[in-house]
Amino acid sequence: MSVEAIQNEIIEEFSILGDDKESTIFYIMEIGGSLPEMPESDKIDQNIIKGCQSKVWLTASEKDGKIHFQADSNTDITKGLISLLIRVLSNRTPEEIIQAELYFIDKIGMGSIIGSQRSNGLASMIKQMKMYALAYQAKLNV
């Protein structure tokens, strides 16, 4: 599925929740629960994303030209947010990740759901994922 198709799928899912903030937060926490377990050995300072209020660890690996992300957080809501990003950006080529325009965040009204501080954290997560993609792109093109 393309980056756009998955984003549209997420927008559709969130539209069912309507304007109710509580149900939306419960839903974000629920999807965070489905994030695959990250090995404890990867939860180290080196993998922490700077700029997030809660702790977020992110690692990336490459297989057959595609990048796989794994992440975890100490808060359930943040886990839910990063699981959405992984759903859109994981298992893709570096080019797809670098070029991805993540409009779903605005479309589902994430800014008003999570507030400005967490929105900054979310931006840091995206930035870090794109940084990984740039690094792998350079490595793969050598």
Binding site: I25, Q53, N74, T75, D76, T78, I114
Partner: protein, 406 residues
Amino acid sequence: MSLNIQEIRALFPVLHQEVNGKPLIYFDNAATTQKPISVIDALSAYYKNDNSNIHRGAHALADRATRYYENTRTLLQQFLNAREEAEIIFTKGTTEGINLVASTFGRKFINKGDEIIISTLEHHSNIVPWQMLCEEKGAILKIIPINEAGELDMQAFRGLISPSTKLVSIVHVSNALGTINPVEEIIELSHQVGAKVLLDGAQSTSHLEVDVQALGCDFLVFSAHKLYGPTGLGVLYGKRDLLDSMPPYQGGGEMIKEVTFAKTTYNELPFKFEAGTPNIGDVIAFGKALEFINHIGKKYIKAHEDELLAYANDSLSQIKGFNPVGTAKDKISVISFNINGMHPFDVGMMLDANGIAVRTGHHCTQPLMQRFGIEGTVRASFSVYNTKSEIDSLVASVSKIAKLKN
């Protein structure tokens, strides 16, 4: 007190709004209280009618603004029962008050090997200035430990205090836990060894009667915005002989008597410590906040808040997974807690979805959180305008949230 709770609530415009489709329930009063309409109107009236620089203007507006400004100082002298108005210094807030004392009293009277005592309960504002001073002077910072309930270990304090102790800087009421410290005893023990005492009154002055002469503290600092007044304004009370013996904090206008290039002499108290044009409008508006407190009465405020605290404690402690942090016998209306298996940020966000405003995190008391081995807490803090039915909503929401993991 002649107002009922609905009449009190009617004085606070901000309370009458919806957040996320629910009526706002404001339980973040330990961070800052809301402002009565009289404070908001006074601020606007000052800029509409009286704006001018104070103390030296040769015109009617300056005279009026000066009188209103100094009237707040008079109200504060009465509010704290200070001996004289000259002992009331306006600052930017609690943090600046502590930094002022560290930079002036500290600079002059703290020497190598001297000891300063603080406690595990301190806000970062009452830790960092002393760490900086100790580093500069080669002085030693000592910490009073606490018990599991979040109360000071007074036995340990008696062991720490000695003739080397020059200053005890202690929080009157803990911002994170609500613990009321036995400051009378601390002041007495400190004075016995000749140490001075600074009270951080940021959380106490809005809830408790604070009589500086009865307490005998040497310094008291607090912020206007936690007392229904404007932000960016605070008060330092100090005993006159101490304030007189301290060097000025900042140099500039207002704090001088005479300036020549050869030598400058300093102004009298309190102006010696108020360099530059002060926060005139906010000082004037703060006077209205003090009048509001005086009108309602501290006795009523404390009784109302105690009732809310007991009511909330009773209901919240029934919830499975509810974990209170700080269970001191003597507390103001603050409940700090965690829910088993949940991060405080997540709890705070879910409460916000229900229109309930609380604080989450370390509350600028990281060493205290380390003491309890936690990252942070959810803190609900009640004020004079809160109601039992608002607490019912909090209990219902916490109950629902706790069920997710318990």
